[in-house]
């Protein structure tokens, strides 16, 4: 398998520990029937409207994220270790955000350079001195993990703004339960379906302190043409709260209110799925039609909780990422439990020259990019692409970071020819409230469906798998 760690099969071709039971099951199945089941699942997705919109296509084309029926399985023991590491990292991220928007001790201590903060587009000066309820900045976090060996996990990326994909995690499980109920009697798989309930509870726990009774929660979406609209509607529906757009809201007597059939009603907690920049045309992008004029002023005065807080992007910025080991240690006093991928910051001239010399071995990413756009995978790039990228790098070095090409682990998918290994990553979802850090067992496994491909993003032809954490 070309030196990649396969999570399902050992080198001798036998099923690995967590996959023992499903291996037996799989061997007793008829492959053509399984494929028929697979098509059935896609039809269900289409009818339910579990789609994402692709930008730049005519009439906002809606596509399915391909779903593979072979689950990705994590043992209980493996998960416990990951969970500890994730919790440590998420606590550090929140402490870092509080510090950055208050005294900036970490800068004073010389652990993170001042220009990394002040000169960063993701840093919001409007947030200076603002303390959100419970000092929670990132109510919902997605930590992208990759694996390269039996015990080798790395954090590839922290998503501290508006991580998406949790609806796929939930729907994938529902689909598997419907299609293969027998599998879940053999395997003891930890439940994920209480995520929406936990999300609502977690958000409610972050309501402004003066809010009495059951807080009013709402989900803010950019609208039906947004790529993740399905997920916004799904979460609002599952939580039993309103799904609002900017034009449903207005600021009235120091509160953010939604226009209902009986008049304006104040909101206590807004789970926004709109980027910072578009949140408030008075305070940020004046052309934004997605936001609510004046919402930031209400927020700063404590009149509403916004989840995630504005300005959290400073913690998941790709340039800041390279400081995460220092950040974790600075705020927790512990060594990081989860490893960072070694990262070269191209703003540093020495690193830049190394990166330029080794371009064909490295992955280069834009500091503010996401979705797999604008990145170079050295080993897969043509000479022409490499030289074009070299020019981009020289022109704006501080816009890029570089990392070694990781040997991402594989988990087989059910292909036409049978099981075929494909590279995967994992995005566990974390809920943070003043009381606890809650991590849903598993998360979303994204899989690169093209043979040999390392890009798992759904916008670039990636698919998903149901992810199981076993009760050991």
């Amino acid at each position: 398998m070309g030196g990649y760690f396969d999570e399902m099969f050992s080198e001798d071709g036998s099923w690995r520990g967590p996959y023992q039971d499903i291996g037996q099951w799989f061997n007793s199945q008829d492959a053509s029937r399984l494929r028929a089941k697979h098509r059935e699942a896609e039809q269900v997705f289409r009818l339910t409207g579990i789609t994402f919109n692709v930008y730049g296509k005519t009439e906002a084309e809606e596509r399915l994220i391909p779903f593979d029926i072979m689950p990705r399985i994590i043992s209980g023991r493996e998960w416990q270790r990951l969970e500890k590491g994730i919790e440590q990292r998420v606590r550090a991220i929140n402490a870092f955000l509080h510090d950055i928007y208050h005294r900036q001790e970490i800068v004073r201590a010389g652990r993170v350079p001042a220009e990394m903060i002040a000169g960063n587009e993701a840093f919001l000066p409007q947030m200076l001195g603002v303390s959100p309820p419970g000092q929670v900045y990132t109510h919902i976090v997605g930590i992208d993990l990759v694996r390269t060996g039996p015990d080798e996990f790395f954090v590839l990326e922290d998503n501290a703004r508006t991580p998406s994909g949790v609806s796929y995690m939930l729907e994938n499980r529902e689909t598997m339960l419907k299609m293969f109920p027998d599998l879940f009697t053999v395997n003891k798989v930890r439940n994920v379906s209480d995520y929406p309930r936990n999300l609502r509870r977690s958000l409610a726990a972050c309501a402004p302190a003066w809010a009495s009774g059951e807080p009013t929660v709402a989900v803010l979406t950019p609208g039906i043409y947004n790529s993740a609209y399905y997920e916004h509607a799904f979460l609002a529906d599952q939580m039993g709260v309103e799904l609002v757009e900017g034009h449903d809201l207005r600021v009235h007597e120091g509160r953010v209110c939604m226009r209902t059939t009986r008049g304006y009603q104040p909101i206590d907690v807004l789970y926004r799925r709109v980027d910072d920049e578009f949140l408030d045309p008075l305070n940020f992008n004046p052309d934004s039609a997605l936001g609510v004029p004046g919402i930031l002023d209400v927020y700063r005065a404590g009149g509403i909780t916004i989840a995630n807080a504005p300005g959290t992007g400073i913690a998941d910025d790709k340039a800041i990422y390279s400081y995460m080991p220092e950040i974790v240690e600075f705020y927790t006093g512990e060594k990081p439990l989860l490893k960072n991928v070694p990262t070269w910051r191209c703003s540093d001239p020495k690193s830049l020259s190394y990166v330029l010399d080794h371009l064909s071995e490295l992955v280069v990413k834009e500091v503010h990019g996401s979705g797999g756009y604008g990145m170079l995978i050295g080993p897969a790039a043509s000479k022409k692409e490499l030289s074009a990228f070299r020019n981009k790098l020289k022109a704006r070095p501080s816009n890029y970071i570089a990392q070694p090409t990781l040997s991402l682990s594989t988990v087989p998918i059910l292909a036409r020819s049978g099981l075929a290994p494909r590279h995967v990553d994992l995005r566990p979802f974390v809920l943070v409230s003043p009381d606890e850090v809650k991590i849903t067992p598993g998360g979303l496994t994204r899989v690169a469906l093209k043979k040999g491909s390392l890009v798992v993003n759904s916008s670039q032809g990636g698919g998903t798998k149901d992810t199981w954490v076993l009760e050991d």
């Binding site: 339910t48 609002a236 529906d237 609002v244 226009r259 059939t261």
Partner: protein, 313 residues
């Protein structure tokens, strides 16, 4: 409930009703064109007028032909009221208010759009037209069934029903508006075969042929048809029936919300003004004027509902 959600439900429902009515109109049009001996252009022009898309058609085409008329009413993206366009809009509104719909209703609306979008990618030839229109009517029935069978009887349901019946009243009204002259008791209409075909077509275009025969037997007269379409209390597409439903659902909202806005009052007035009469009174007043005034007042009622329940900012 969000005002926007109320609006989304209202329009989802109006658009679905419109799709079904337009399908029925096309069916009747095709049948008329087939049964009539002289040129069918006039009949297609009348279909275009009843569907309220005649001006748009003339902006695109120079003359009325069967094929172009069918394509325009059925699937032209430039026509915001084509069957394909209104089903798309119904589905967009359903997506907007997804959280208010049951799984079954959403699934029915979504599958309607998926099927229509697939078969309407290409022009539909005349031979396939009946099956296509049948599909539209079946899907509309599926959505209605899911709505009646799975939705809570709360404000969500009320707005869905209000949209439904405003659209339906508007449709029956427009059929009468375009065809009123056929129903006038003039000296010349003494039941020629041409008249019989015309009368039959009016009943067909509101799917009421069977219902009419059940209540009136074979005897067809213009004033009885007019009476049936306007004042009958049990015919689900009569103006009386639709306005009664609008009134009822507004009353439920009034009770639920504990306030009564101008729209409630307008719906009561509408009912009293137009439906508390006999068909002879209506003919004395002038059928055409009566229908025109009714459609205009219905339009005002619809606009008032949007204001009272804050559909928009």
């Amino acid at each position: 409930m969000l005002g926007k959600t109320a609006g989304g439900l209202f329009w989802m429902s109006r658009y679905l009703e419109r799709a079904e009515n337009t399908a029925r109109l096309l069916e009747t049009g095709q049948r008329m064109a087939l049964t009539r001996s002289h040129s069918s252009e006039e009949e297609w022009a009348s279909v275009l007028k009843t569907a309220g898309v005649y001006d748009g058609y003339l902006a695109k085409y120079d003359e009325v032909t069967k094929d172009n008329a069918i394509d325009w009413v059925l699937r032209d993206a430039d026509n915001a009221s084509s069957i394909r366009s209104v089903i798309k809009q119904a589905r967009d509104n359903a997506r907007l208010v997804r959280t208010a719909l049951t799984h079954d209703v959403w699934g029915a609306v979504n599958s309607t759009w998926m099927q229509i979008d697939t078969i309407m990618k290409r022009r539909i030839n005349e031979r396939d037209l009946p099956n296509t229109l049948e599909l539209v009517r079946q899907q509309a029935a599926l959505v209605r069934g899911a709505t009646l069978g799975t939705m809570l009887r709360n404000d969500i349901f009320d707005f869905t029903r209000i949209g439904n019946f405003i659209e339906r009243a508007d449709n029956t009204g427009r059929i009468l508006d375009v065809k009123y002259y056929v129903l006038l008791p003039t000296a010349f209409s003494v039941g020629s075969s041409l008249d019989n075909v015309q009368w039959e077509s009016i009943l067909r275009s509101v799917g009421a042929g069977g219902g009419y025969r059940m209540t009136h037997g074979q005897k067809t007269s213009p004033s009885e048809i007019a009476q049936f379409l306007i004042l009958d209390q049990r015919m689900p597409r009569s103006l009386h029936f639709c306005c009664r439903k609008i009134q009822e659902n507004l009353t439920y909202l009034e009770k639920d919300y504990g306030f009564s806005g101008p729209a409630c009052e307008a719906s009561n007035k509408l009912f009293d003004k137009y439906l508390g009469r006999t068909i002879n009174d209506i003919f004395d007043l002038g059928l055409h004027e009566y229908i025109e005034d009714f459609l205009s007042d219905l339009g005002h009622l619809s606009a008032q509902i949007e204001v009272d329940y804050r559909f928009y900012e």
